[in-house]
Every structure is written in structure tokens, then in C-alpha cells.
């Protein structure tokens, strides 16, 4: 039971990390109907840009790369880079592809992911960087002593960060003017345009927000596994979360992440040994598929009604 709980909670925390990446997908899909495959590349780009800036800044000012002014400066510069990226994407890609079928847009984002990967590696080099956020990957002592549970402090902090981010996004969507405009655009592009909402600016904002989410995801994942090309594969981890939760739902991304994270870890521990392990590459997809057979739009997705 002890072990089961540990695996279960570890899975839930890992699931929050998946949800973090899935969130970026959901934001963009809601507002522009684009399934943005480049989200993984954006996570990679964000993490690499952050590490690159903090290295350079530290060298210029002679400070240690872990000093907090360097951290915040690098964070601000990375955020600026993500806004710039969002602007470029809107100006040179989305604007030209208005009214194209969804699959064309999807393919365009795959092309975009090549572009972002090339730019990221061309600018900052392809070497693997370490990233230290100052949170050690050690068990939480309090839980270990009281309940004898091994829960990683790092995972817990990351999950808290993810939770806070979701709460902030939810408030942003619910109560700000821009948030209302975003929801209007998500509801109906044409109606939003006709009441004077600047569609193109909204798209830039959404892509920038997805970029900020990518920064958070990139920092957390980068600190966990190192900042390297493999970060782009986080997109593949997020896709089953996304379809399980529903492509258009922010809470769906979180719930989906928790379900996928927990069941993936449990399956790997209890089912994996019987079939030779390594099942985490496909298990989330099959699980999501089973859920889809019951609810074809995901758990929280918008119900689609076909009319002839």
C-alpha cells in the first residue's frame, strides 16, 4: 500500500508536468483552432533561450548564473523572445493561412517546429545544458518522517507551480478584458470580429501566453532532465493528455494530466514487468483511446453536433 501510494502520488505530480505542456496546446487550439504541434519545440526554444541568456548575463556581469537578478533578467528576456516569436508566427504564418482547413494549419505548425528547432540550436548551440532552479530533487522530510512516503520536493514544487499557473490563467480568462476577448474569439471568430475585437492582436496574445506557459514547462522539464533536444518530445507526452481532457478545455488538460500521469506510472510498475517494460511510450495513447471510445470529444471537450 505504501509503495502503491508513492507511485500513485509520483504519477499525479508527473501528470501535472504533462498538463503544463498540454495547457499550451489548449490555449492556442481554443483561440485559433490550430493544433500547434510546435508547442514542444517552443518548450525547447524557451528553455534553451533562458539558459543561453542566463549564461551570457552571468558572464557579462561577473555574477553566478544562479543569482536571482540574473534569473529574473534572463526570464524577462526569454519572455520577450516568446512575444517576438508569437508576433512573427502571427504576422508571417497565421495571417496568411486564415480559412485554410485545420490539417493545413497543423502541417504548417510541424514546419514551424522544424524552424524553431533550427533557430534555437543555431543560436544557442546544440550542447546539453544543466539547469538548476535551486530546488533539490530530494524527498520531502516532513512526509517521510510522518507517513514514511517518498515524495520528491522538486516534483511537488513543480506541481504547485503548474497549479498556480492554471489558476492565474483561469482568472485571466474570466475577469480581464483581454481574457473576455480571447473567449469571444474562441467561441466564434466572425462574431468576435464583427463586434470589433482585433483578431490578429488576440492571436499574438494567445501565442505569447502559450509561449509563457512553454517557458514554465521548459524550466521545469529542463531542470528535471537537462536542457536538450529531447525537450521537444514533451509534446508527444502532452498529446494523449490533450485528447483525454478535450482539446478545448483548460481544466480538461489538468484532469487529463493527472489521469495519464498516475495511470502511466502505475501501469509501468505493475503491468510493465509482464510485457518487458517501456510501455510508457504507448500506454497513455491507448488509455486516451479507451476514454475517447466512451466520450469522443474527450472528458471536457465541447460536444460536437453534426447537422446535414
Amino acid at each position: 500500500m505504501q509503495f502503491f501510494l508513492e507511485v500513485f502520488i509520483g504519477g499525479l505530480l508527473a501528470g501535472m508536468l504533462y498538463a503544463l505542456v498540454a495547457l499550451g496546446f489548449v490555449l492556442i487550439f481554443k483561440a485559433s483552432g490550430v493544433l500547434n504541434f510546435a508547442q514542444g519545440a517552443m518548450v525547447f526554444f524557451a528553455a534553451l533561450t533562458f539558459v543561453g541568456f542566463s549564461d551570457r548575463l552571468a558572464r557579462w556581469f561577473g555574477a553566478s548564473p544562479d543569482a536571482s537578478p540574473v534569473f529574473w533578467a534572463a526570464l524577462a528576456l526569454t519572455a520577450a523572445a516568446m512575444v517576438l516569436l508569437a508576433w512573427v508566427v502571427e504576422r508571417f504564418m497565421l495571417r496568411k493561412l486564415v480559412n485554410q482547413p485545420a490539417i493545413t494549419l497543423f502541417m504548417a505548425t510541424i514546419g514551424l517546429s522544424y524552424l524553431i528547432e533550427g533557430v534555437a540550436q543555431g543560436t544557442w548551440g546544440a550542447a546539453v545544458h544543466g539547469l538548476d532552479l535551486g530546488i533539490a530533487d530530494e524527498p520531502v522530510m516532513w512526509l517521510l518522517e510522518r507517513y514514511n512516503l517518498m515524495i520528491s520536493k522538486f516534483d511537488l514544487s513543480a506541481a504547485v507551480v503548474a497549479g498556480v499557473l492554471v489558476a492565474v490563467l483561469a482568472l485571466f480568462f474570466q475577469y480581464t478584458k483581454v481574457g473576455r476577448a480571447l473567449r469571444a474569439v474562441a467561441d466564434d471568430h466572425q462574431a468576435a470580429l464583427s463586434v470589433g475585437i482585433p483578431l490578429q492582436r488576440i492571436w499574438v496574445i494567445v501565442w505569447a501566453v502559450a509561449g509563457f506557459v512553454a517557458i514554465v514547462a521548459g524550466l521545469v522539464w529542463g531542470a528535471r532532465n537537462g536542457v536538450q533536444f529531447a525537450l521537444t518530445y514533451t509534446a508527444l507526452k502532452a498529446l494523449p493528455v490533450l485528447i483525454l481532457g478535450g482539446l478545448t478545455s483548460v481544466p480538461g488538460a489538468i484532469v487529463g494530466g493527472l489521469i495519464i500521469g498516475a495511470s502511466e506510472k502505475l501501469a509501468e510498475v505493475y503491468l510493465g514487468p509482464y510485457v518487458g517494460g517501456g510501455i510508457d511510450s504507448w500506454f497513455p495513447y491507448v488509455l486516451a483511446l479507451v476514454f475517447l471510445l466512451i466520450r469522443p470529444e474527450g472528458l471536457f471537450g465541447e460536444k460536437h453536433i453534426d447537422r446535414v
Binding site: 493544433l35 508571417f92 504564418m93 496568411k96 493561412l97 485554410q100 482547413p101 485545420a102 490539417i103 493545413t104 497543423f106 502541417m107 504548417a108 510541424i110 514546419g111 514551424l112 517546429s113 522544424y114 524552424l115 524553431i116 528547432e117 533550427g118 533557430v119 540550436q121 543555431g122 548551440g125 546544440a126 508527444l236 498529446l239 494523449p240 490533450l242 485528447i243 482539446l247 510485457v275 518487458g276 517501456g278 510501455i279 511510450s281 504507448w282 495513447y285 491507448v286 486516451a288 483511446l289 475517447l292 471510445l293 469522443p296 470529444e297 474527450g298 460536437h304 453534426d306 447537422r307 446535414v308
Partner: protein
Amino acid sequence: MIYREAGQFKASYEEDQQIFPIKQDRIVMAALVVAAFFVAPFVASEYWLQAVLTPVLVFALAALGLNILTGYAGQLSLGTGAFMAVGAYATYNFLLRLDGLPFLAGLVLGGLSAAAVGVVFGLPSLRIKGFYLAMATLAAQFFIVWALTKFPWFSNYSSSGIISAQRIEILGFAFDTPARKYLLTLAIVSLLALAAKNLARTNTGRSWMAVRDMDVAAEVIGIPLMKTKLLAFAVSSFYCGIAGGLYAYTYLGTVEPDGFGLDLSFKILFMIIIGGMGSVLGAFLGAAFILLLPVGLNVLMHTSVGVLVPATLASNLELIVFGVLIVFFLIVEPHGLTRLWQIGKEKLRLWPFPH
């Protein structure tokens, strides 16, 4: 002046229903086929046959398979690579375990195995649509590659699932040189392309297109959805399976499960988007474009830019240019190369007059 159908009268139903109703089209096609069969093997160097022409044909076949599913029947799939893997590994196992089985029979059995797997993974399409279905096909992609790596029986207990294709022999004639392998590939691909071209014009093909355009409406006018969708998955996977078999036997010779990963599926999806959805010609144009683009870029980068910048930067530049070209192409011509071809033909029909 040269490309005009004036004076070509259709005097019978057969003439009216030809695949290429215009005489000039027939001449061009015939010339192309003759050139591909009788000129290319003698003119092209071994490198070209082995590394360019054969893979273009193999990938065109795979793209054709995906085009049947996505372009004609409207079911988006990201599992093409996996279905090719099933074809390759099934062909290998049939030839290995059934003594004296002719190569072509093994290839067809491989294709049929892929079709069976395709139908199983196509079952969710009855309930799931659009991007949700695309993600469901990812389940097939990851599961099949994992299974081929994990269960050594599939690869006859070789290390990390690598299989080496057996010698191809048909009626005692060995297909062992690049030119012979190319001819074998060409013959199979031409036959299947002809079949696909015809299939698209039959009742089945038209039901696929009806389902693609709107499946509820198709059901209302009496098209059995289940049969039509599953048939699309079966035929498409059969084509992909055969393509996988050829990929292993006539192109690479040695393949491993990871070679059939998601990248391959995306590559083939690129081919049908760039080539043109719902068109047989598009599969060929797209395959040629996507395969030759990196080669061309590589040559360009390493001859002109390569002397100025280090190799790693050059390969990143290649990545960037590839991405930009894909996006650019989708913006400029979202209907693909086929559409450009059609526009060209229309212009040629009127030439030298503007209207």
C-alpha cells in the same frame, strides 16, 4: 496549340470513361512509363537508382496509401509508419517461416497483414473524428513500433529488432542489382497506382469521397459508414504495407523498428499535403519533392554556404530552410503541386490566347 482536345470525339462509352480522356495526356503518360521502364535503368547511375528513384517510388506508394485514407476518405492518420513496419516485418516473417514461398506472395501477405492491423486500429474511426482520430492512430504508431522492438520473435531474435531482407528471387530470376530492384519496385508501384486511380472512380471511391465531405450526409443517402471507413483503412494499410515491404526489400535491405517512427509518418503526411490531397499524381509529386528537397538543400548548404559556416550551423540552417519552405508552400499553394499542374494544363490549353 499543341494541347487541345478539339476533334477528339468520344464515340463509345468506353472512350468516354477512359482514365486519360485527352489524347495528349495519354501520349505523355505512355512516354513517361516507357522512359521509366526502358530508359531510366540504363541511363541513371547506380546511385540514382538506389538512393533516389527507388525510394521516391516506395514513398510514393506509401503516400498513395495515406492519400486513400486521408485524401479520399477524409480520415486523418498519423500511423502510416507503423503500418509500413507491419508490412515489412510480416513480409520478412512469411518469407522466413514458410519455406519456398514466392517473394511476391510474401509481399502480398505482408500487405494483407498490414490491412488487418489497419482495420483493427481503424475501428475507433466509427466513433472518433478529426484530430481526436489522428491522436488515436498515434496509439497504433507507438504500440506497433514498441511491440516490434520488445518481442524478438518478430525479428527472428536479432539484436534490437533489426531485420535483413532475404534475397529477392522471382521464378528463379534474382533481383539483386539496383537496376533490377528499381524495375521490380516500378512494376509493383505502377500496378498499384493504376489500381488506385481506378478505385477512386468506382462506387467505393465515390463513397469514400462522400464520407470525407460529410459523413452524416453520406450516411443519410445510404452509404454504409462502417463498411466504407473500414474498407478505406484496409486498402490504405494494404498499400502502406506493400510500401513497407518494398522499403525493406528493394530500398534499404536492413531495417529496424525505430526507422518506422513518427518522423516517417509525418514525412508521408507532408508528401500528400505538398503533393495534393485526394490525387494519385499528388502522391508521386509529393514524394519526389519531399525526398529531393533535403538532398538539394544539403548539396546547396555544403557546397555554397558550407565553406563559410561550420557543419553544425549548416545542418541547422537546413532545418530552418526546410521548415520555412513547408510553411511557405502551404501559404502559397495549399492545394499542393497537383493544383499547380492543373493550372499549368489549363493555361496550356488556351495558349497562346489569354482566354
